[in-house]
C-alpha cells in the first residue's frame, strides 16, 4: 500500500456514565489510502459512530478521546491547531439524518457559502458561483434558484445531496460518511451511493463509510473493517470479508441476512445467540466468546491477530477450515 492519507493508531473513546466508564472504542488502528473506500461495519453499540466522530473531534462532551496517534497526510491530528485547520477543509463529514443536519433558519446557499468563505476565502460572488457548481455536480438542477431555498423546502434525498455538495465545496481529500443513506428510501439510497462513487472517481476522494448494512458494504467498499464491542475483529478487502470471512462474528452476521439466491425462501435464517457484552469496564479475551459457536476455553485469554496478506482477524482460529 502506498503512503496512507489517514492513519489511526490505538484510538480509544471513553464515556463517563453513572455506572462507570464505558469504553466505546477500545484501541483500534487502521489506515485509509488516498482515493480508497473504507467501510466500517458493525451493529449498534459496536463503536463505529464514535470512531467517526472521534476522527472529526466531534465527540459529545461526556466522551474522551485518546490515541497513540492520528495522522492526516503526515500531520498530527491530535493537535488542536492542526485539526482545526484540516477539519471542514481537507476532511469533511456527512451524517445520517438529512432532515435535521441542515440548519432550518438559513438558506441552502448561506450554509454552503459559509464554509467556503471561511476556509478558502475570496468574494461572496465567487463562493456563490462555487456553491452553484457543486449543486450541479451532485445532480441538482436549476442550482441558482435552489441556493435561496430553505432546507424544509427540499425532500430528504435532495437534502442529502446538498449535504454532500456542502461537504465537498472545499475540495477535501477525505469524506467521512456516517450512515449517509440509512434514513433514505432504497431507490434514493442507490442514487446517493452511486453519486458518491462517481464523485470519488472524479475528485480522487477517500471515503470512510460507517454503516450497519452488509449489502451496502459489499457493493461499495474496497476495504472493510468489522467492529464488535468497540474493537476491530476483522479487516480485509471486500472479497476477503464476504467470500472468505475468517472471524466467527463476521460469518454469523453474514448468515443473518436473507440473501436472494443463497438463502432458501422461507428457511430459517442464521442467528447469533445472546447479547453484546457490557462495554463498561475492561474486557479480557475475546468479547464475542459468549456468543461464539466455536469458542474455546483459551478465548478468555489474550487473542492473537492473524494475518494473510492484507486480511487480518483477531481470533484463535485460522480462517475458514
Amino acid at each position: 500500500m502506498n503512503k496512507p492519507l489517514l492513519s489511526v493508531r490505538d484510538l480509544r473513546v471513553d464515556l463517563n456514565t453513572r455506572s462507570g466508564v464505558l469504553h466505546a472504542v477500545r484501541g483500534i488502528s487502521f489506515d485509509v489510502a488516498p482515493g480508497e473506500t473504507l467501510c466500517i461495519v458493525g451493529e449498534s453499540g459496536c463503536g463505529k459512530s464514535m470512531t467517526s466522530l472521534a476522527l472529526m473531534d466531534l465527540l459529545p462532551r461526556v466522551a474522551r478521546r485518546s490515541a497513540g496517534g492520528i495522522t492526516f497526510d503526515g500531520q498530527d491530528l491530535t493537535r488542536r491547531r492542526i485539526a482545526g485547520r484540516l477539519r471542514g477543509r481537507r476532511m469533511a463529514m456527512i451524517f445520517q439524518e438529512p432532515m435535521t443536519a441542515l440548519n432550518p433558519a438559513f438558506t441552502i446557499g448561506d450554509q454552503m457559502v459559509e464554509a467556503y468563505l471561511y476556509h478558502v476565502g475570496g468574494t461572496r460572488a465567487q463562493a456563490v458561483e462555487r456553491a452553484a457548481q457543486m449543486l450541479e455536480k451532485v445532480g441538482i438542477g436549476s442550482a441558482r434558484s435552489r441556493l435561496s431555498q430553505y432546507p424544509h423546502q427540499l425532500s430528504g434525498g435532495l437534502r442529502q445531496r446538498v449535504m454532500i455538495a456542502m461537504a465537498l465545496i472545499t475540495d477535501p481529500e477525505l469524506l467521512i460518511a456516517d450512515e449517509p443513506t440509512t434514513a433514505l428510501d432504497v431507490t434514493i439510497q442507490a442514487q446517493i451511493l452511486r453519486l458518491l462513487k462517481d464523485l470519488q472517481k472524479e475528485l480522487g476522494l477517500a471515503i470512510i463509510l460507517i454503516t450497519h448494512d452488509l449489502g451496502l458494504v459489499s457493493r461499495i467498499a474496497e476495504r472493510v473493517v468489522v467492529m464488535y464491542a468497540g474493537a476491530i475483529v476483522e479487516e480485509g478487502s471486500a472479497a476477503e470479508i464476504f467470500d472468505r470471512p475468517a472471524h466467527p462474528y463476521t460469518r454469523a452476521l453474514i448468515d443473518c441476512i436473507p440473501q436472494p439466491g443463497r438463502t432458501e425462501r422461507g428457511a430459517h435464517l442464521g442467528t447469533i445467540a445472546g447479547v453484546v457484552p457490557s462495554l463498561i469496564g475492561p474486557q479480557e479475551g475475546c468479547a464475542f466468546r459468549d456468543r461464539c459457536p466455536v469458542a474455546q476455553p483459551r478465548c478468555a485469554s489474550d487473542i492473537p491477530t492473524q494475518q494473510a496478506g492484507s486480511h487480518r482477524w483477531v481470533c484463535i482460529h485460522g480462517g475458514r477450515a
Binding site: 431507490t187 451496502l216 457493493r219 464476504f242 440473501q259 430459517h268 442464521g270 442467528t271
Partner: protein, 323 residues
C-alpha cells in the same frame, strides 16, 4: 374461494393545511387499493415513503377509516363487525419496539392488556395465559415483572408479538416489524414470525421497505407507489420477472450481498414522489426511465386483483400487441 382479508377500492384522502391564508391541499394517501389474502398466507406490501403503506396498515387495523372503499374480513365489512370482535381477530406488530410498549407498565401488564380490555378470565388466568405466550415467543418468565426499558430491542419486539398473540387472532398486520432492529436480531424475529405462522396457522400482512426480507418471507407481494398498487403477484414471479419499471428499479436498488458488483444506475432522476401533487397520467412517469409521451396523459389501468400484473402502459401495450 373465500378470502380472510379483502380490500375493495380503498381510497384515503387527507386535507393538509398549507398555512392560514392558503386553501387546504388534498393529500391522496391511497387510491383504489384492491387486495386479497387467503387464510394462512403472507401478503407483502413494499414501497417507499409516501406510497401509502402506513396509511394502508392503519386502515387494515381499523385505526383510520377509508374515504372510500371497504375492508372485508371473512367477507364481512369490518365496520359492521364491532370493535370487540374485530380487535380479537386482527392484531398489529409495529415498527418501533421502543414506542410500542407503555414505559410505565410491566411486561405482564402489557401482554395481558388486551385480555383485560375484553374482560377475559380472572387475574390469575390472564397471568397464566401471558406466561404461556411469553414462553412461546422466547421470553423468559422472569421478565414478567420488568419494565420495557430494561429489555433490549429484540426482546421488546417479542413482547409486542406476545401482546398481539394473546387473543388468538387470525390476522397479524406487521408494519415494518424489523426495521428498527440490528441484523442479528432481525433474523431472530423473522424466524420467530415464520415459526408462529406455521404452528398457529396465522395469516400475515407484512409491510416493509426491505426487499430481501419481503422476498424471504412472503407468498405474494404488492408493490405500491404514490397510493396505488403498481404491481401484484406471487413472490417468485414479481422478484424474478418484474413487469413494472418501478419494481425493476426497486429490485435493482436493493443492495444484496454481492462484492464487486457495485451500485447499479437505476436511472430515476431527482424528481421525488410527492403525494400532495400526484402527476396526471402514470404517477411514476416523472421518474420512469422507460416513459413515453402517452404516460403523461393516460392513467394506466389498475392491477387486476385476481390475475395480478402491473399497472403500466407498457404492459397494456404489449398485451394489446399480443391480442
Amino acid at each position: 374461494m373465500s378470502y380472510l382479508l379483502e380490500t375493495r377500492g380503498l381510497t384515503r384522502r387527507f386535507q393538509v393545511s398549507q398555512g392560514m391564508f392558503r386553501p387546504k391541499a388534498t393529500l391522496h394517501a391511497l387510491n383504489g387499493v384492491d387486495l386479497r389474502l387467503r387464510k394462512g398466507e403472507v401478503l407483502g406490501i413494499v414501497g417507499e415513503s409516501g406510497c401509502g403503506k402506513s396509511t394502508l396498515a392503519k386502515i387494515l387495523l381499523n385505526l383510520l377509516a377509508p374515504s372510500e372503499g371497504t375492508v372485508l374480513l371473512d367477507g364481512k365489512d369490518i365496520r359492521a363487525l364491532g370493535r370487540m370482535e374485530f380487535t380479537r381477530r386482527v392484531q398489529p406488530v409495529f415498527q418501533d419496539p421502543f414506542s410500542s410498549l407503555n414505559p410505565r407498565k410491566t411486561i405482564a401488564d402489557i401482554v395481558t392488556m388486551p385480555l383485560r380490555v375484553h374482560g377475559i378470565g380472572t387475574d390469575a388466568e390472564r397471568r397464566k395465559r401471558a406466561a404461556g405466550i411469553m414462553d412461546m415467543v422466547g421470553l423468559p418468565a422472569r421478565f414478567a415483572e420488568r419494565y420495557p426499558k430494561e429489555l433490549s430491542g429484540g426482546q421488546r419486539q417479542r413482547v409486542a408479538i406476545a401482546r398481539a398473540l394473546v387473543m388468538n387472532p387470525d390476522l397479524i398486520i406487521c408494519d415494518e416489524p424489523t426495521s428498527a432492529l440490528d441484523a442479528s436480531v432481525q433474523s431472530q424475529i423473522l424466524n420467530l414470525l415464520m415459526d408462529l405462522k406455521r404452528d398457529l396457522g396465522l395469516t400475515y400482512v407484512f409491510i416493509s421497505h426491505n426487499l430481501s426480507v419481503v422476498e424471504h418471507l412472503v407468498d405474494q407481494v404488492a408493490v405500491m407507489y404514490l397510493g396505488r398498487v403498481v404491481e401484484l403477484g406471487m413472490t417468485a414471479q414479481v422478484f424474478d420477472a418484474p413487469q413494472h419499471p418501478y419494481t425493476r428499479a426497486l429490485l435493482d436498488s436493493a443492495l444484496t450481498v454481492a462484492p464487486g458488483q457495485g451500485v447499479p444506475d437505476i436511472g430515476l432522476g431527482t424528481a421525488f414522489p410527492n403525494p400532495l401533487a400526484i402527476p396526471p397520467g402514470c404517477p411514476f412517469q416523472p421518474r420512469c426511465p422507460r416513459a413515453f409521451d402517452l404516460c403523461a396523459q393516460v392513467r394506466p389501468q389498475p392491477v387486476d386483483v385476481a390475475a395480478g400484473g402491473a399497472a403500466c402502459l407498457l404492459t397494456e401495450e404489449a398485451l394489446r400487441g399480443a391480442a
